[in-house]
Every structure is written in structure tokens, then in C-alpha cells.
Symmetry: C2
């Protein structure tokens, strides 16, 4: 790549996330997911991702090698005011451009600092954020002090964005629309995801095999990947198409084919999570749901209320962790608890019916199980969960055996409970 070449179509990108905390044992880079979404939408493919710490030599090496072979390099993080923030310097070195203070940026930083009304003068270090490599274009950051930077480098382009997601996201969105779309091929990668419950990955894989072949032979071909995640299977479809609409139409047909094969186990074809699907089904029917949660400890209701507008169908839930709560608040007979144990279908049924009538809801969920690590027995090992759903005319109950630790059991139980509601509403 020579610095003299004319700008070309941006087709391939690499992403570098900068920050020593991303090399420790608890933090992963998630900014690249949003960046990828925005790039894919205008037809730019991400071919590699990298993380480098706040070490000038390593960062320079990673930037140089990430830049080789791509049209666009997106770097996020390391643009703050401290001595640890080395992205500007490292990029300037890799692109062989001197850094210089940008007068407009200095003004802007001073005004921003003054508006905070602090008594101490602005630390000199803040001026680092006004340093711009020669030929760099400043990208406004409406939510923070670190500006972004855009540099054309021969046929390539390099973009620097701040690391905090609430600063990065609006800037990346603006960038994709204003600067990247006109330079990209427009052959967008259109994606679609189907979410499936109640089946094993291998079953889905087998059932879809004839479709895989048909999709691979299509023009342009449709790529399909199956991923098993906690409590659900995801089918990812994608196609590269010069027309976003026609690409979307191809995936619409492929989605219908997959649903034809898999049936009602497909619970989402448009990115909605299970709690949204259930919420929409309740809302459109004007029904209220109440949950009596024991082992899930409020997780089912918390997931339902993650959805905007959930106050239209969730009014009341009761977390009855203790047996006394099951008796006093839900009306579960003590004799039932004594006869079957708290983790049993009869108790789940009584909880579902109890919360339904006490909350004056249309549907009542009862969930009781052993989340672990303690409390398991040979007959009812950790992971045993009984779930019941009560409606005006019937109560259904099922017993599940989930694997994994406490949080995994809780999540799978909440997923199974929401899926029971979904299937009930579908069958109605």
C-alpha cells in the first residue's frame, strides 16, 4: 500500500481495541460487536479483531499488522487525557504523520472544562486530546471530551474512536452513514437470526440439511450457522447482496423455509428475545401475567420487565423463596408441601393458581426448583425444576432437569417458564 494511491472501495476492515484492562481476566471487548454491525450494514466485512494494552511498542506492532491487508482500520480506546492513552501517538507513528495541537480543539476543550464550573484550572494533560496527526479530520464527540479522528492513508482509511460505549456508539453510527457508506461497496451483509427452543442442536442441524444445500447453491449464496447458547439454539443466516431489500427478501424466504421445517419451536425470527415475544403475545391479547417464583428468585419477572411497555401485562409477582411465603402469600396448603415437597408439580400448580387469583391475572406461573449448589437429593438432584402455568380453565405442569451452576439453572428455568407461556398463547 502506498500513501499516494487514490481512495478505493472500502471492503475489508480490522478493529483494534486499546486498553490494558482488556488484557486482564475479567473484561472483554464488546465495542467491536457494535462497530461490526455498523460496518456490515454498509457492506464492509470485518476480517480480524485485535486487543492491545497501553504499551506503545506492542500497540504500534498490532496497529501496523492489523492495517496490512485491510481497507479500513477502526481503533477504539486510548484517546483519553492520561499518559496511558497512547492511541494517537501510536497511530501517528504507524502512519508516519507528525502530531500537532489543533487550535479549534484546544478552544473546545477549554470551553467544555470551564462549563463544569470547577475551581481548579484545566490540567495541562487535557491538551493531549487536542493533538491531531497531520491530515487528520476531527470527528465530533457529543458525549465526551475525546474527539474521534479520521485519516485517509493512501487507498486506506484509519478511524480513531473513544472507548466508552455511550461516546463511541453515536459517533460510529454517524461515521457509517456520513463517511463510510459513500466509500463502501454497498454490497451489504444482511443478517437474520432465528431463535429456537426445546430442541437439540444436532436435531436442528439434521432437519435443516436439505435447506443448507439449497441455500449454498443460491445466487448469491446464503450462509447458515447454528449456535447453541444457554436455553436456546440460534440459526444465523446471512447473505451479501448489492440490494439490501433483495438480500432481506432472500433471507425472508429462507426464514420461512426454516420455520416450515422446524415449526413452532422457532420462537423468534426478527431478533426479539423470548421475553419480548411473550410480552408482545400477552399485550396483543390484552392478558395479564403474574408469576410466583421460588428458585428463579424474581428473574422471570425481571426479564419480562426489561421490556418497555411491560406494565401493560405485568402487574404483580411474588417471590416466595421460603415455604411460609408459599403458604401465607400464595395459599399453597401446608399439607401439599409436606406430602410432595416444595419442589414438585403439585406445589408448582398451587403456586401458579395462587398467584393468578391473588394478583387477579389471566395467567399464573409457578416455578419451584433446586438451583444448587446445595439442596439436591438422589430423586431431586440440583437442577430439578417444576413449572406450572395456570389459566382460567386449566393448569399444566412440567418437571425439568437443568445442568450447570446456580445462575445457569436459574436462567434455564426462567427460559422454560417463559417458553411455556409462549406455547400456551400460541395454542390458544
Amino acid at each position: 500500500v502506498t500513501a499516494a494511491a487514490a481512495p478505493s472501495v472500502l471492503a475489508k476492515a480490522a478493529i483494534v481495541a486499546v486498553g490494558s484492562e482488556l488484557l486482564e481476566t475479567t473484561k472483554v471487548d464488546t465495542n467491536s460487536l457494535f462497530i461490526t454491525e455498523q460496518l456490515n450494514a454498509v457492506g464492509i466485512d470485518v476480517v480480524s479483531k485485535h486487543v492491545a494494552g497501553d504499551d506503545r511498542a506492542v500497540l504500534t506492532h498490532v496497529l501496523r499488522s492489523a492495517l496490512a491487508g485491510v481497507d479500513l482500520l477502526v481503533v477504539c480506546g486510548g484517546l483519553g487525557p492520561t499518559d496511558d492513552d497512547l492511541t494517537r501517538e501510536a497511530v501517528a507513528e504507524v502512519l508516519a504523520r507528525p502530531l500537532a495541537e489543533d487550535a479549534a480543539l484546544v478552544d473546545q476543550l477549554k470551553r467544555r472544562y470551564a462549563s463544569r464550573g470547577l475551581s481548579v484550572p484545566m490540567p495541562l494533560n487535557n491538551l493531549r486530546q487536542a493533538m491531531v496527526p497531520a491530515g487528520g479530520v476531527v470527528l465530533d464527540n457529543p458525549n465526551g471530551s475525546a474527539p474521534g479522528l479520521w485519516m485517509d492513508h493512501g487507498a486506506q482509511a484509519v478511524v480513531l474512536l473513544p472507548g466508552p460505549p455511550r461516546e463511541l456508539k453515536p459517533m460510529m453510527r454517524e461515521l457509517a452513514g456520513a463517511r463510510l457508506r459513500p466509500r463502501a461497496s454497498g454490497v451489504a451483509i444482511v443478517r437474520r437470526m432465528l431463535r429456537i427452543s426445546g430442541r437439540f442442536e444436532s436435531h436442528i442441524d439434521q432437519a435443516l440439511h436439505p435447506l443448507y444445500e439449497e441455500w449454498a447453491a443460491a445466487s448469491p449464496p446464503i450462509a447458515a450457522t447454528i449456535l447453541a447458547t444457554l436455553g436456546q439454539i440460534e440459526l444465523h443466516l446471512s447473505v451479501r447482496h448489492a440490494s439490501r431489500e433483495q438480500g432481506a427478501a432472500m433471507l425472508e424466504r429462507a426464514t420461512a423455509q426454516a420455520v416450515g421445517v422446524i415449526g413452532e419451536d422457532v420462537f423468534s425470527t426478527d431478533g426479539r428475545r423470548l421475553e419480548e415475544v411473550v410480552g408482545d403475545a400477552l399485550s396483543s391479547r390484552g392478558l395479564w401475567l403474574a408469576a410466583a417464583e421460588s428458585c428463579t428468585g424474581g428473574l422471570v419477572t425481571s426479564r419480562l420487565t426489561d421490556v418497555a411497555g411491560s406494565s401493560r401485562y405485568v402487574g404483580t409477582s411474588i417471590v416466595a423463596y421460603a415455604n411460609e411465603a408459599k403458604t401465607s402469600l400464595l395459599g399453597v396448603p401446608e399439607a401439599l408441601l409436606a406430602a410432595h415437597g416444595a419442589v414438585s408439580e403439585p406445589v408448582a400448580r398451587a403456586m401458579a393458581e395462587g398467584v393468578r387469583s391473588r394478583a387477579g391475572a389471566d395467567l399464573g406461573l409457578g416455578i419451584t426448583g433446586i438451583a444448587g449448589p446445595g439442596g439436591g437429593t438422589p430423586e431431586k438432584p440440583v437442577g430439578t425444576v417444576a413449572i406450572a402455568l395456570a389459566s382460567s380453565d386449566r393448569t399444566d405442569a412440567r418437571t425439568f432437569r437443568f445442568f450447570g451452576d446456580r445462575e445457569l439453572v436459574k436462567f434455564q428455568a426462567s427460559q422454560a417458564a417463559l417458553d411455556m407461556v409462549r406455547r400456551h398463547l400460541r395454542a390458544e
Copy 2:
């Protein structure tokens, strides 16, 4: 680096995760967190991390550049039997070693396949997993068919591990103990994390400044990083020490110094999350907590019940999303709701007192707010949350303004509520 050099101390590592799904918009590499933990424990530093898809040219480029400048390259994923699994071929190319079928591995694969009792003969593709680069040492995979590989490459070492975490983790653990520890410096990176509530990052930074200087001057120096995460600030301390015990003792002293400066805003010095800290405080005092949750929708109780043993202090909670639920289940007077609105300190107080008495608990939490996106007003914008804590002799209430979308507001409200309980128990 020449291939003839003698093996040296392994000090710096790079990690490459292979798989096109890691370049899409939903999945992040998390294997590297566990790998980093294991490497750090024997004194190996991770200087960069990389993700490459199932593309031979890109993968080769990424492997080559990741290997440059490190002593150890850990590659995970892409070792399966399909044509998409290119890690073996790419590594063989980068190290310039021919691949050859390993007779023992062929036998092992055949035996493994036969033991599954399938009627179809083993697909020939499976033999790809028996290909070993010249000089490669096979690493047993007790949980899957793809073996790992170890290659000495001059003074460097390259390790290939399968991608599925349940296969990778035991192999990485074995590798760290058996092959890496003897080759590493043994100067382990010891880490400690303090979690802090109720302060701004900049305040903490300022308060700790004298300590930073003292720590940097220590021998060996203690590194400190502050990270603002949702609803809390984290202070990460680390030190490289030939003696794990002495390193830990240095961090123990540094932790005590930081707590001396920051005070009771430090809620955790041993990795415990806020719900664990609150749970332990309740449990050790033999107290029961009940929550009346409106805008948090069960999240506070769900977080509390994520902790094993929480049935010792959580018996009952009530999610009172609707006003009728607040009145009928919690006894909040309708007049109070009418006079102050559902999102108000008087209503939060009545909810806290109501759930405390109805659940027969020692402490009652009342949480009512506007999670958004709808429901905000000029006086009570989205993010306004009133939280009250009732005990036998008093009820305290506070109003917060949280930023961000619905899920962020819910989380911050749950964090503030748990922190009120923590501070109350501390003050007792």
C-alpha cells in the same frame, strides 16, 4: 527469532481465537479470559489478543504477526474435522513444518468413533484431526475428539487448543501446570480488585494519588488501574512477585491503605459482588430482607438469590408493578399514591414498610421509579428512582437520577438499593 535458538523463559504471550462466528455481531471471545488467568498465575503476561475467521490467508497473517515479539502463542479454535477448521494448516505454514498423519491419533479417533456405536463408517474428514505438524507434541483432550498440539519453535512455543470451553479449560489447566510453569519465570502476576460505590471515578483517582506514587515506588512496584463500570468503580491492583504469598501480602497492605483513604465506600476487597456482600452481612446477623420492587421488576431479589445460601435471608419479595398491587399487596394508601405519585419517597417508604410487615422480615426495601423509555415528566424524568429501607425503628428514603436506557436504570437502581442495605448494616 531463529528456529535454532535454545528454549528460553516464557514471559510474554499472545492469544489468537479462531472462528468466523467471533467476527459477527453477537459473539465475543471469552476463552482468552481463562487462558490469561492460567498464564498470569505462572508468570506469563498476555500482551495482545486477536480474533481471526476461518480464512486461511487472514489467519496466517494474524498468526505470523501475533507470534512476532512473544515467547508463547496460544491459539484456540479451528481444530475440528471440517474444511472450515484451518488452524492446523495455517500454523504449519507459519512455522514452515509439513503436516503428517499421526498413527496413534488415527487409532484413537477410530476407537473413539467406534465407541459411539454408529452404523455409518467414520467420515474421512475426521482424519484431519490426526494431522500433526512436524515436531508437534499431542496434548490429550479428555472431553472431545480434537487433540491439542504443542510446538517448540526455537526459543518460542506455540500451543493449539480446541475452542469449546469444556474441552479447552482442563487442557489449559494441565498445560499451565505441566509444561508452562517449568518454562515460565514463576514471577506470578498477583491481582486484587476493590469495588467501590457512591463515588465518582475522578474523586477516587484524586484521593488515591499519594498511594499511586508510593505503590509505583515499591519493590516490586504495584500497578493500579481504576475502571468505572455500571453502578460501581473498580480499583485493580497487581504486582509481579516471585513469591505468590509475598505478592499477595503486598496487595493486602495496599488494599488496607486504599480502604483507609476511601473508607466505607469500598464494599468489596475480595472479589465479592455487592449481592454477596449484602447477603453475607444479612446472614451473619441472622436478618431477613424483603423487597417491594416496582421499576426494578424483581431484579434486586433475583440478584440476591443468585448467591448460594440466600434462602437464609430472602424469604419473600413482591413485585408491585401496578398501583393496585402496591395498594392491595403492600398496603400503600391510595391517597398517598394520589398525593405524591407512584414515584415518590412517601410511596417508597410505604412500600418498604408494607413488605417488611407482610413478609415478617427484619428489613424492607421499597423501590419505585421510571425505568423508561416512556413515563418521564419534567419534574420526574426517566431515571428518577425513589428507594426506601425500613427497619424496626426507622425508614430512610433517597431519590436518585440514573442515566441510560431501561436496563441500565434497572441495574443502577438495584445497585443503589443493595448499597443502602449494605450501609445500613455497616452502621448498625
